[in-house]
Structure formats: structure tokens, C-alpha cells
């Protein structure tokens, strides 16, 4: 790739990809791969000086509070705001009609407004927003609002949503129904596959709804700027999409809106969208011409939700006596709640990863994502792929028992070997699952211990796959998915500008590590400026486990370009050709002669002027012979094998997850400490979903809207976690790296389910594995999984 821009723009490779000339796969590293080095923003976080959105205070800042719906489904007949407006300190009262433009995470499913208009669709839906001089006054004012509702029948279950006699939740559109999306795909010859099977088994599974519980609640601070422009600090994973949505809904040009992502108190998928906080703070700030903060309280975070879809699944699997899977027939129906969120994507993810990480050539699936009058579901770590992985990995263990085969050997015989293309045309460039499996088995002593532990104690295995970002962005265009800009000043300091959103996963350290590696400097010389739409090139955001793969490659691209410029300038003084120069230990050297990094920068700046570069990454085009898989194709896939050890108290039914060995193929280890932390977080979140977490509703009212009631694992509930890092050197990853932030979670719940079976001999197909479910199963009267409804559409 040329170091200087040409009139033709960046070069394009035949497959449509854009990025660095070399991914440096397999090259030795000197900065990357170091353990226990902390991270670039670590000191700010341990000293309390990191600035989260709620920590921002501006002069004359007003505070906004929301009034929410007490009904799951009701017409809004009238809203009386007069008493609020008369209260001292109240500055403005906002209702749905003030900001009526529809928005949504996915362009084809824009079904939300900032505040409810005409009717409410879930308990907790925002209806009125009040700005006041203090938070206390704003909160008190919400209690003076009188809303008259006409309750409607509430659609609460997937059965309700399928029932053509029930009300339609979204009345707009040509053929209104309560189906957000139905996907049906068929590959190979499933009927022939079942005909060839020696053993066919069918079962229904129910995966519960759960939510992210980031410790930082969603918050936004909006500040009006001169000339009608707007600055918005927001707690988000996806500043770019918030930028587009806020501009669209407010009817502003994107150039007049600046989005800044401060430090974010994590997301796990829960902060992927534009929230009511963003839209109301922005509208009120512009109306009042003063800054406005809108920060959610903890209970409200449970209503904002966008978490795991409760999903019922039917798995029918055919198998030969040698363990080979001959066919999978799969159905899933997800209770999506009141708005689409990313639900269109969820419907695809429920089906497209069914065969991986195995070679299965006959598969058929129908998935449906339904609207109901519950808080909207959306993406949570392992989005949509996690529920079917629980069902499939549980099912595989059951069938291993039916045919009398070791579950590990069954998986071993048909795991995919890269490069490979699945029957639904997902291209897998690298796969280290074989090593993951062997390492997890070895570390846990699976072969010697499974089936031989005392009653109540057991081991279970599961494997999984995940993506490293999507080939297709949410918006269809030819633009890069990630951009990085470097500025190098004569002190030797390198500033990295990136539209990425570090929400705790460590992407800032990843960017600094990669740039430092390529320039041969310490990451401490790097500053990362990220998530600011006025300063940074676009990155699509922290979702789909895309950041290391895509932004990492953009960082290589930018670093290699400026490295070439510096090499060209410095080479004559070292008496060497530019390609021979080595950048290491803050020194540029060749053949025994060297200059310091700082001196090299000064030489280069004197030669060519101000030093800077840009880098981009756009993934290759998807395989196009099969046109119906817009969602699922990724430039690379990560793989996981996990073994869980449980201790089940047969008196109380309490399941304790004692240990989890989780081996994950992340392509290349860029930072072992941070990578282990991601695996440990995935195991933790999986354990929570396995034994504790479930969102329960009564007539549409959430039963657990607090951290105390919605039980998340404490240190006591969390197992000893052994994170095992496996490298497979993906040919298209930065230095060969792949994702590690989501994939490990997919294997955890089925590994625990399989371990419970090893411990007490019962099968639990309906997490969380509560004492009641365990005891009932032990007593031979298990709590049944509800029947699978027919997914054949019924006319209205």
C-alpha cells in the first residue's frame, strides 16, 4: 500500500477488503503478549479519577427525570402536566409528541419514539420527561403528572403473540402482526439426513430472559453549543450509531452534533442503542438553551433492558452410531418484548450458528422473534447464538449417552477444521477448537474424573463458536467499518484517534499496544482519544465482538503507513534501505547504527512536515452465492471448549459451580491479562445465567427490578476460573488475533447443565438451575418445559 494518498483513494483488494498490507500474523512481538502490565487507562480507574457520564457537571445544568407507564398495554387518553409546570424549579415538560420521529437500532425496524405516543407497550415505558433545576424537583414533579390510560389486553407470552385474536402491539405497517421477524432456512437434505441416522432424538428447551446489570446506569449530558449545535456525552457502546440516531430524530445535520463517549461503566450489549436519556437530554437542552443531564436510576435500567431474549427451542437431531450428526431440525421462538431493538438480527443469530463448531451438512431451521408487552429484549453477550448453543450442546450430551459414546470423543469426531466453509456458507479461516478441547479436558481431568465422582459432584463439557464482527454493518454502504488516525509530535508522543468505545474491555490498551508494537515504542508514549465524533474517525462500535479484529487492523494500517514515512526519512542517516530498519525499544536501527525514536520523529518531521497517518479496515465481501445470509458471516470465528465442575446439594437442591476450565481460541494473544479477564467475565456471566438470573413477570410487571431481587453472582457464587488461551493465528486478524469478549460465555451454561447430569443423573433443560428445579427433577416430577407452539403463521 502506498504511503501517500493517491487520486484513486485507498487501494481495494479483489474481495472488497480494505486494511493493512500485512496483518503481521505469526510475527514475533515485543510489546504485545506481555502479562500484568496494567492498561493505559487503568490508573484513572483505580484512583476514581475516571470520568463517567454521571460524573459530569456543567454550569446551569438542569436535571431530567422520567415518568413511566404502570400498564403493559394501554391507550394514552390524556396527559395533564399543568401542576408540574407550576412547580418552582420545573423548567420544561416533554411528552411524546415533542419528538415524534421514529427510530430503532436496525434501519428496517424503526418502531420506537423517545417517549410513548398514543399508547404504552410495556410497564416502565417512558411517557413524560421533566427538566428541573435539581434532580429532586424533577423527580417530585413527575409525581404530579396525571395520565389517563385505557388499558388494553396485554400480549405477554409467545403464545399470546402468535394468537391472531390478540391485539397487535405495533399497528403501523402494511400487514401488522406481533412477529418482529420470521426466518426459515434449509441447507442440504435434512430428510435424507434423518433417514441415514441410527439414532434420532428430539427435545424442547427453554432459555430464560436475563439482563446485563452494568453497574453504571445509562446516563446522558447534553449541552447546547453556539450556532444551534449540540454536544452529547453518553454512556454508550456505539457512539457512531447514537450520533446517527440523535441527529435523525432531532432533525439535525450530523455535522452539528458531537457525540462523546466518556468512561463507560460497562455494557455487555445493554448500551448498544440510542436510549431515552440521549434523546430527552438533547431535546431539552436545545429547548432550554442550557445543559441537561438525564441519568437513569437502577430500577429504570431494568426497564431499559435490551437483554437476553427468553427463547423456546425444539431440537431434533439425527446421529450415526459413530457419533456423526446427520441432520439438525431446529425451531426457536423468542419473546422479544415491546420494541424491535436488534430483534431482526436476533432471529437470524438463533439459526445461523447451529452447525458450527461442527461439520453438519443437513440443517433446517425456523426462528421467530415476537413482540410482546414486556420491556424490549436486545443484544446481550453472545447475542442470539447463546440460547441455541445451550440447546445443541445439551442435546449432544444426551445423544452421546443414547449411543453410548464419550461426549468429548463425539465432539472431537466432527469439529470443524479450518479453513472450511459451512453448509450455510460461513467461511472459517482459522480454528483452534481441537487444542481448546484437549486443553480443557486435560486441565479438568475430564477423562479420568467424569462419571467417577461422588454423587452430587459432576463434570460437564461444551464447545462453542462466535463471530469477530459482522461482514455487513447495520447500514449498507461501502465505507470502512473502522478508522484510526495517528498524530505524532516531535516529543515522540503518539496520539491515536479512534471512534471505538472502550467500555472496560480494554480496547484502548489494544490500540496502544498495536501501535506501540509497530513503532517500537512503549504504550506509555501513546494517548488514545476515542469515541468522540468531532475528533475521531468512525468505528462502528463495541458490538458483535468486532473491535480487536477491525479496529486492530485499522491501527496496524495507520501505524505501518507512518512507520514507512519515518523509515524513508531516517534511512539515509543510517546508511540503510528503509525496509531494513528495525523499530524497537524506542530506537530505529539498521546494521549497527541507530537513532532514538524521538530523533527519528524529528528527522521525519523535518523531511516531510507534520507527521500523521490514517488507517482503515473494511472486511471482505461475503460469499454471495447464497444471498439469504445477511447476518452471520464474519471475517473470522473464535472457538471455545469449557468444562464445568459442579457440586449439587441433593438435600437443598442448591447447585454450586466450583470450577470452570475455559479454553478459548482467540487467534493470537495480544494481552494475556486482559484476555483472561474477558474469559473470566464470560464465565461469570454464564454462571449467573445458569444458576441465578432470570427476569420474571407477573401480568407484565417485572418482579425483580433491583440488584437485590434480580440475583447476580457475588464472589461467593463465582467459581474458581481457569482461563486457557489458545492461539490459532487467523490469517486476517491483527497479528492473527480474534475475539475473546463474548465467545467464551456460550459454552458455560451447557457445560454446567451437562455437569449437573453427571452429578445427579437428571437433565435440566430450563435454566436457571434453581433449587426447586433440581429437587423436583430428583424427585422424578420435573418442572416441564412448556410445549413448542406451532411456528406456522396463522392469518389474522
Amino acid at each position: 500500500m502506498s504511503d501517500t494518498p493517491t487520486d484513486d483513494g485507498p487501494p481495494r483488494s479483489p474481495d472488497g477488503a480494505m486494511g493493512p498490507d500485512s496483518f503481521h500474523v505469526g510475527e514475533p512481538t515485543h510489546i504485545l503478549g506481555q502479562a500484568n502490565e496494567g492498561k493505559i487507562d487503568g490508573v484513572a480507574k483505580i484512583t476514581g479519577s475516571a470520568v463517567f457520564t454521571d460524573d459530569i457537571r456543567l454550569p446551569r445544568m438542569a436535571h431530567a427525570k422520567l415518568l413511566r407507564s404502570p400498564h403493559p398495554h394501554a391507550r394514552i387518553l390524556s396527559i395533564d402536566t399543568r401542576r408540574a409546570l407550576e412547580m418552582p424549579g420545573v423548567l420544561a415538560v416533554m411528552t411524546g409528541e415533542d419528538l415524534p420521529t421514529r427510530h430503532g437500532a436496525i434501519p428496517i425496524a424503526q418502531d420506537e419514539t423517545a417517549l410513548a405516543i398514543g399508547k404504552v407497550r410495556y410497564v416502565g415505558e417512558p411517557v413524560v420527561c421533566i427538566a428541573a433545576t435539581t434532580e429532586e424537583v424533577a423527580r417530585a414533579a413527575t409525581r404530579t403528572i396525571r395520565v389517563v390510560y385505557e388499558p388494553l389486553d396485554a400480549v405477554l407470552t409467545v403464545e399470546d403473540a402468535l394468537d391472531p385474536t390478540m391485539p397487535v402491539i405495533h399497528e403501523q405497517g402494511k400487514r401488522p402482526s406481533n412477529t418482529t421477524r420470521r426466518v426459515h432456512q434449509h441447507f442440504g437434505d435434512v430428510d435424507q439426513g434423518f433417514a441415514e441416522a441410527d439414532c434420532i432424538h428430539e427435545a424442547v428447551y427453554q432459555y430464560p430472559g436475563s439482563t446485563h446489570v452494568p453497574l453504571e446506569a445509562h446516563a446522558a449530558v447534553a449541552e447546547p453549543l453556539p450556532e444551534g449545535r449540540l454536544k452529547l456525552w453518553t454512556s454508550t457502546q456505539n457512539p457512531h450509531y447514537v450520533h446517527k440516531t440523535v441527529s435523525h430524530v432531532l432533525g439535525m445535520d450530523e455535522t452539528d452534533v458531537r457525540i462523546i463517549k466518556p468512561d463507560v461503566g460497562a455494557g455487555y450489549g445493554g448500551k448498544c442503542e440510542t436510549f431515552v436519556t440521549d434523546l430527552c437530554a438533547s431535546w431539552l437542552a436545545l429547548k432550554l438553551d442550557r445543559p441537561v443531564k438525564c441519568a437513569l436510576e437502577r430500577e429504570e435500567v431494568f426497564y431499559a433492558h435490551r437483554g437476553r431474549h427468553p427463547t423456546r427451542m425444539r431440537v431434533k437431531m439425527g446421529m450415526k452410531n459413530d457419533g456423526r450428526i446427520t441432520a439438525i431440525d431446529f425451531e426457536a421462538i423468542a419473546n422479544g418484548g415491546a420494541y424491535a431493538s436488534y430483534g431482526v438480527v436476533t432471529a437470524f443469530y438463533l439459526g445461523v450458528f447451529l452447525t458450527l463448531p461442527y461439520t453438519v451438512n443437513n440443517v433446517r431451521f425456523t426462528t421467530m422473534r415476537m413482540y410482546t408487552n414486556l420491556p424490549p429484549c436486545g443484544p446481550k453477550r453472545g447475542h442470539g447464538a447463546l440460547q441455541p448453543r445451550f440447546a445443541i450442546e445439551s442435546h449432544i450430551d444426551k445423544m452421546a449417552e443414547l449411543i453410548g459414546m464419550d461426549p468429548a470423543q463425539l465432539r472431537r469426531t466432527q469439529m470443524i477444521t479450518a479453513p472450511a466453509t459451512t453448509v450455510n456458507e460461513l467461511h472459517v479461516p482459522s480454528c483452534g477448537l481441537d487444542s481448546c478441547l484437549e486443553e480443557a479436558l486435560l486441565a479438568s481431568g475430564y477423562a479420568a474424573r467424569r462419571g467417577r465422582l461422588p454423587t452430587g459432584r459432576g463434570l460437564g463439557l461444551a464447545a462453542s463458536v462466535y463471530m469477530c464482527g459482522a461482514l455487513h454493518g447495520v447500514y449498507r454502504d461501502d465505507l470502512p467499518h473502522s478508522g484510526v488516525q495517528l498524530q505524532i509530535v516531535r516529543s515522540g508522543r503518539v496520539t491515536i484517534f479512534s471512534g471505538t468505545a472502550d467500555i472496560g474491555q480494554g480496547s484502548n490498551q489494544m490500540l496502544a499496544g498495536i501501535v506501540a508494537e509497530r513503532l517500537g515504542i512503549t504504550p506509555k508514549l501513546c494517548r488514545v482519544i476515542e469515541g468522540d465524533s468531532d475528533l475521531c474517525p468512525v468505528d462502528l462500535g463495541s458490538y458483535s465482538s468486532r473491535v480487536t479484529f477491525m479496529a486492530g487492523n485499522a491501527a496496524i494500517d495507520a501505524a505501518d503507513k507512518i512507520r514507512a514515512v519515518i523509515a524513508q526519512a531516517v534511512a539515509p542517516s543510517l546508511g540503510a534501505v528503509p525496509a531494513a530498519l528495525e523499530f524497537r525499544n524506542e530506537t530505529v536501527s539498521a546494521a549497527g547504527r541507530s537513532v532514538s525514536w524521538k530523533e527519528a520523529v524529528r528527522i521525519a518531521e523535518a523531511a516531510v512536515g507534520t507527521l500523521g497517518s490514517t488507517g482503515s479496515y473494511r472486511p471482505p465481501k461475503a460469499h454471495r452465492s447464497f444471498r439469504r445470509n445477511p447476518i452471520g458471516p464474519s471475517p473470522a470465528y473464535s472457538f471455545t471448549a469449557a468444562v464445568a465442575e459442579v457440586d449439587v446439594d441433593i438435600e437443598s437442591g442448591i447447585v454450586a459451580v466450583d470450577r470452570v476450565w475455559c479454553a478459548h481460541d482467540l487467534g493470537r494473544v495480544l494481552n494475556p491479562t486482559i484476555a483472561e479477564g474477558q474469559i473470566e467475565g464470560c464465565v461469570y456471566m454464564g454462571v449467573g445465567e445458569a444458576i441465578l438470573e432470570e427476569q420474571l413477570y407477573d401480568q407484565g410487571q417485572m418482579q425483580t427490578p433491583s440488584i437485590l431481587e434480580y440475583k447476580v453472582p457475588t464472589v461467593y457464587d463465582t467459581p474458581t476460573i481457569e482461563a486457557i488461551l489458545v492461539e490459532s493465528h487467523d490469517p486476517g486478524g491483527p497479528f492473527g488475533a480474534k475475539e475473546v469478549g463474548e465467545g467464551p460465555q456460550l459454552a458455560i451454561v451447557p457445560a454446567i447443565a451437562n455437569a449437573i447430569h453427571d452429578a445427579i443423573g437428571v437433565r435440566l433443560d430450563h435454566p436457571p438451575f434453581t433449587p426447586e428445579k433440581v429437587l423436583r427433577a430428583l424427585q422424578g416430577r420435573p418442572i416441564a418445559v412448556p410445549d413448542m407452539p406451532s411456528l406456522t403463521p396463522k392469518p389474522r
Binding site: F52, D55, L215, G265, A266, G504, E680, I707, V712
Partner: protein, 162 residues
């Protein structure tokens, strides 16, 4: 409104506060000490943990007015970037802070533990951390940091807090 006098991070402070204001709001809104976090405002999560008279306290459910005469220490006072508290240094090295939102509470919880017991048992560490929720780390790196401090200090006769 009562006027309270107290010491915060070694500084003598006299302020009037409304009866119903929490210590957390007092720290954040009146003093600009935003290191202590709102996680739940119900005492469920531990993100607001500070030390009051050397004991860990949930500042979101502590009335500021009741802290008259107290010695309060927050994450801003326990260490600085150039003089990190051993807990902070260990958490940094082990990347025990991912998003960092629970971290000030974890720092104060462990600092308070080590103040009363420079070589706590694993049970004591669990008992302390049991009051703090972290959704990022699975507590693994936090435990590693805590255990490293105990291991290091058990080899030093001064018990760490010299």
C-alpha cells in the same frame, strides 16, 4: 439544615446539608468527589463504599448528617497516581478494573479490610468482597490482586501499613 463538621481525606470540612441527603450525594454533589459511585442507591452493590472512621460504609444509604464528627476516607484520599495504595497498585497490575465503575468501592472495601487485618485469610477476603458486585471480572483478578498483597505483606514484618 444541620451543619456538620467532619474530616474528609484528611481535610477539615464544615458544611450545611439537608437532613435527607446521603453521604454519597454530599461527597459527589457538594464536594465534587465523584470517585464514589451511584450503583443502586439501595445498598445492594457496594459501588459507593467509603471508609467512615476506618470502617467500610455504604455511602448511598448513610445520611450525611449522621457523619458529623466522623473521619471519612474516599478513593480520592486513599492513594494518588504517584503514591498508589497497595490495593490500587495490585488491582492495576492484575487489571482488576475492567470498566472501573465498581472499582472505587472495591478499593475502599479491601483497604478497610487490610487496615484491620494486614494478613486476612481467604475467607476474610471473600467476606469483604461479598458486599461488592462486579459484573466484569468474575472477581478473579480482584482476588488475585488481594491475595498477592497478602502474600507480599506476610513476608514483611511491618505489616504493610508502615
Amino acid at each position: 439544615m444541620p451543619c456538620i463538621e467532619l474530616t474528609i481525606n484528611g481535610e477539615r470540612i464544615a458544611e450545611t446539608v439537608p437532613d435527607h441527603h446521603s453521604l454519597l450525594d454530599f461527597l459527589r454533589e457538594d464536594l465534587g468527589l465523584t470517585g464514589s459511585k451511584h450503583g443502586c442507591d439501595m445498598g445492594d452493590c457496594g459501588a459507593c463504599t467509603v471508609m467512615v472512621d476506618d470502617r467500610p460504609q455504604l455511602s448511598c444509604i448513610t445520611l450525611a448528617a449522621l457523619c458529623d464528627g466522623s473521619d471519612v476516607q474516599t478513593v480520592e484520599g486513599v492513594g494518588r497516581h504517584d503514591a498508589l495504595h497497595p490495593v490500587q497498585a495490585a488491582l492495576h497490575r492484575h487489571v482488576g478494573a475492567q470498566c472501573g465503575y465498581c472499582t472505587p468501592g472495591i478499593v475502599m472495601r479491601l483497604a478497610a479490610l487490610l487496615k484491620v487485618d494486614p494478613s486476612p485469610t481467604d475467607d476474610a477476603i471473600f467476606s469483604a468482597l461479598g458486599a461488592n458486585i462486579c459484573r466484569c471480572t468474575g472477581y478473579t483478578k480482584i482476588l488475585a490482586a488481594a491475595r498477592e498483597i497478602v502474600d507480599t505483606w506476610s513476608n514483611h514484618s511491618d505489616g504493610g501499613f508502615a
